[in-house]
């Protein structure tokens, strides 16, 4: 009989301390804890967890390696299916994917698959680079536009098939949202960089500072001899509320705020030259992961009060449960069933307060969630000096507008064949947020993987 152990907690930095530093919040399992947690896995013959992982990581197999204390081996197993395990171990919503199907979860708590993934993945770089064998070159060239998780996964898988891969990235670093959006304290940039270095070691060429649609175009790349193109340009266009006062000073899109802090390292201003300004009372509009990141970053930059302002209730909040918990532990306050209708400025053009309307939950809407209904006459002013708008991102039209023959849906996302990720333009594939709208890292990676398989097939049939 297996002895019964409860799920092992992940040690974290103390909330009072971590709310003022940018070091990673979750500290990772020790070897002993990892082995003990791994031993909880029942090693199901027909594992349900694997089926609900978008890239079908061989979960029982890598966990078994941990129980055998073959940590490097566990990392190898992860890498077979997942090119960015150290990232996924940190940011995947495991509670709604693999862990939600774990048999242990029926009566007890599921195996902490995500934490084990992180442990095994982190063990690797510490032990030196894993050897990746690349097959003989096929002579085919693949161009990848956008170096986010979708593009990087497609690049890695295509390189493993022996195709010559070049990734074109608009920013000065590769990584997409992993570099510019998700904060250091949740996903250290060194982790992302080492995954990118692994890809480079496999022969993937990454050209940064290259805005496709400006310096070159998809058609030009194909004319230059790329045999297939993958578009993974993400959902990088910030939405605003469209309410009065949104252009006041002190109002940021979450993208701007987080890009300044993460990509440009403004939290180390003036050592790093990019400035960021956070007031004493910050309102973050929205309640997804992006909003939580904005709120928690504000605290770390010195804000005294940080509010999440959201028009629905707690159960509808789209952020991962863990992120909301972490934010609340650190002192972020939730203003639920509240929606701003106007931002008010001072005589110098700085935001000084926000007029809000309270809401109550009404009948379910098309999304099946109970829709927020404004309560007439419930206006009130909330004093704030910084507002971060985190109500979602749309597809950036820069690339799609410059690529004739690409079918888009009415929201501007690229339409693809869901089996092959092929677009309406021959030889051009797409995946990730540019296809689905803002989603998750693992779904973007899943799409990149699917596309790489389809590209390989397409190139063989050429």
């Amino acid at each position: 009989m297996k002895e019964k152990a409860t799920r092992h907690e992940m040690p974290c930095q103390d909330p009072v301390i971590r709310a003022h530093n940018f070091d990673e919040v979750a500290l990772g399992y020790s070897k002993e804890t990892a082995v003990a947690e791994a031993k909880r896995c029942l090693q199901c013959k027909k594992p349900l967890c694997v089926g609900s992982c978008p890239v079908e990581v061989l979960i029982p197999q890598f966990i078994k390696k941990i129980t055998e204390e073959d940590f490097a081996g566990a990392g190898e197993v992860l890498k077979e299916k997942n090119s960015l395990p150290a990232v996924c171990g940190r940011v995947c919503p495991q509670e709604s994917q693999c862990e939600s199907k774990c048999v242990l979860g029926i009566k007890d708590e599921p195996v902490a698959i995500g934490r084990l993934e992180r442990f095994a993945a982190d063990y690797q770089p510490a032990m030196g680079k894993s050897k990746v064998s690349v097959p003989a070159p096929t002579g085919k060239r693949v161009a990848i536009i956008g170096a986010g998780p979708a593009g990087l996964t497609c690049a890695g898988d295509s390189a493993k098939k022996g195709h010559a891969v070049t990734v074109f990235e608009a920013l000065h670093v590769a990584g997409g949202v992993l570099m510019y959006g998700i904060p250091q304290f949740r996903l250290p940039k060194e982790v992302v960089q080492s995954e990118i270095d692994n890809l480079k070691a496999m022969g993937v060429e990454i050209k940064v500072n290259t805005v496709v649609g400006k310096i070159t175009s998809v058609d030009e790349l194909m004319a230059e001899g790329y045999d297939a193109v993958f578009l993974g340009t993400g959902a990088g266009l910030p939405n605003f509320m469209g309410i009065p006062g949104e252009n006041l000073n002190g109002v940021y899109s979450a993208n701007e705020f987080l890009t300044r802090a993460n990509l440009m390292k403004a939290y180390r201003f003036p050592e790093y030259a990019t400035p960021i300004k956070v007031g004493k009372r910050v309102a973050v509009l929205g309640a997804g992961n992006v909003a939580m990141d904005g709120a928690r970053t504000s605290l770390r930059l010195g804000a005294k009060e940080v509010y999440i302002v959201y028009r629905r209730s707690r159960t509808e909040m789209p952020a991962r449960v863990e992120e909301v918990e972490h934010a609340e532990e650190e002192g972020v306050k939730l203003y639920l069933l509240t929606n701003p209708i106007k931002l008010n400025g001072d005589d110098r053009g700085w935001v000084k307060s926000m007029t809000c309307l309270r809401h109550e939950l009404g009948e379910p809407d098309e999304s099946g969630r109970r829709s927020p209904v404004p309560i007439p006459g419930s206006e009130f002013d909330l004093d704030v000096d910084t507002v971060i708008v985190a109500i979602g991102q749309g597809p950036n039209p820069l690339l799609t507008k410059s690529t004739p023959g690409l079918e888009l849906n009415k929201r501007g996302n690229i339409v693809v064949d869901p089996e092959t990720m092929e677009t309406s333009k021959p030889g051009v594939f797409a995946g990730g947020d540019i296809v689905t709208g803002a989603a998750t890292v693992i779904l973007a990676m899943g799409a990149g993987k699917k596309a790489a398989a389809a590209i390989d097939k397409y190139l063989k049939n050429m």
């Binding site: 608009a170 400006k214 310096i215 990088g236 910030p238 003036p270």
Partner: protein, 280 residues
């Protein structure tokens, strides 16, 4: 790395750099800009393209020292190189034959107006340039502008060159000659562009200005560069930087430029400390 091929001091705090960026040089058109970074810790700084040479593969930019990052750039030499050089960004100028056009450059704004004037002349426009500066010694690129215009009018605030006054006085001077103006381009400080737009609006003369809000990515991803155009919010980096001057909310633009004033002063102070310490 993008090497500095040529460096020329144009005025006390204004430097011209010719930079090796062959791929950008192949594609750039008048009215577009680049974003540069000097080093790992540097800011992403937007700069309008003043000139380009597709054969040599170079881009020319002109930089005025107004704060920390521009000061760092202007200290670069012919042995230096930019770490990042991204472009071409923004929408190119709509070059066509309008008839008689006036190209107004105020202060540093003469640099970005130069390729526009040249292109407008090449397609057959009658080009009159109005160059404004505080005084004669701060006037840049006069010879270059003469080469790409049919006529040059100079206005200095102190009267040390050309007519005394502002660029709008230069514009009035041209109108007084009885010329019909079909379109105006005005690039310079926001107050100057505002004054020109207010001058031409009642006259019904099409007026294009080039906005220079604070930017971060330059690809439409962050929204830092929001400008209000006819009460619609636009992103200057992808929808502009050129806009119809009669629709721009210039007061908002000025207000937004002061967003990081305190931080800029802190950065600037650091530069001075470093200088006094004799290193940087």
């Amino acid at each position: 790395m993008y090497k500095v091929a040529n460096r020329r001091q144009l005025a006390p705090s204004i430097v011209l750099f010719e930079v090796e960026a062959p791929e950008v040089a192949q594609k750039v058109e008048p009215g577009q800009f680049v974003i540069v970074r000097t080093d790992e810790k540097g800011e992403r700084i937007p700069l309008t393209v003043m000139d380009f040479d597709r054969t040599k593969g170079t881009i020319t930019i002109v930089v005025q020292d107004v704060g920390y990052s521009s000061a760092i750039i202007n200290q670069m030499t012919e042995r230096s190189a930019f770490l990042d050089f991204i472009g071409p960004l923004g929408v190119p100028t709509e070059i066509e034959n309008y008839g008689t056009v006036v190209c107004i450059g105020g202060g540093l704004g003469i640099a970005p107006i130069y390729p526009i004037a040249r292109a407008l002349k090449e397609v057959g426009n009658q080009v009159v340039a109005v160059l404004g500066s505080r005084s004669a010694d701060l006037l840049i690129l006069e010879e270059e502008m003469r080469a790409v215009s049919h006529e040059v009018v100079i206005a200095t605030n102190d009267g040390s060159a050309g007519v005394q006054g502002f660029v709008t006085d230069g514009l009035a001077y041209i109108l007084n000659q009885g010329k019909t103006i079909n379109a105006v381009w005005a690039i310079g400080p926001v107050v100057m562009m505002k004054a020109v737009a207010e001058f031409t609006k009642p006259l019904g003369i099409k007026t294009i200005v080039s906005m220079n809000p604070v930017m971060v990515d330059g690809t439409g991803m962050c929204g830092a560069c929001r400008v209000s155009i006819g009460s619609e919010t636009k992103f200057a980096c992808v929808d502009g930087p050129e806009f119809d001057g009669h629709l721009v909310d210039f007061d908002l633009a000025m207000q937004r430029l002061s967003y990081f004033k305190d931080e800029e002063n802190r950065a600037r102070a650091r530069l001075q400390c470093n200088h006094e310490g004799g290193h940087h």
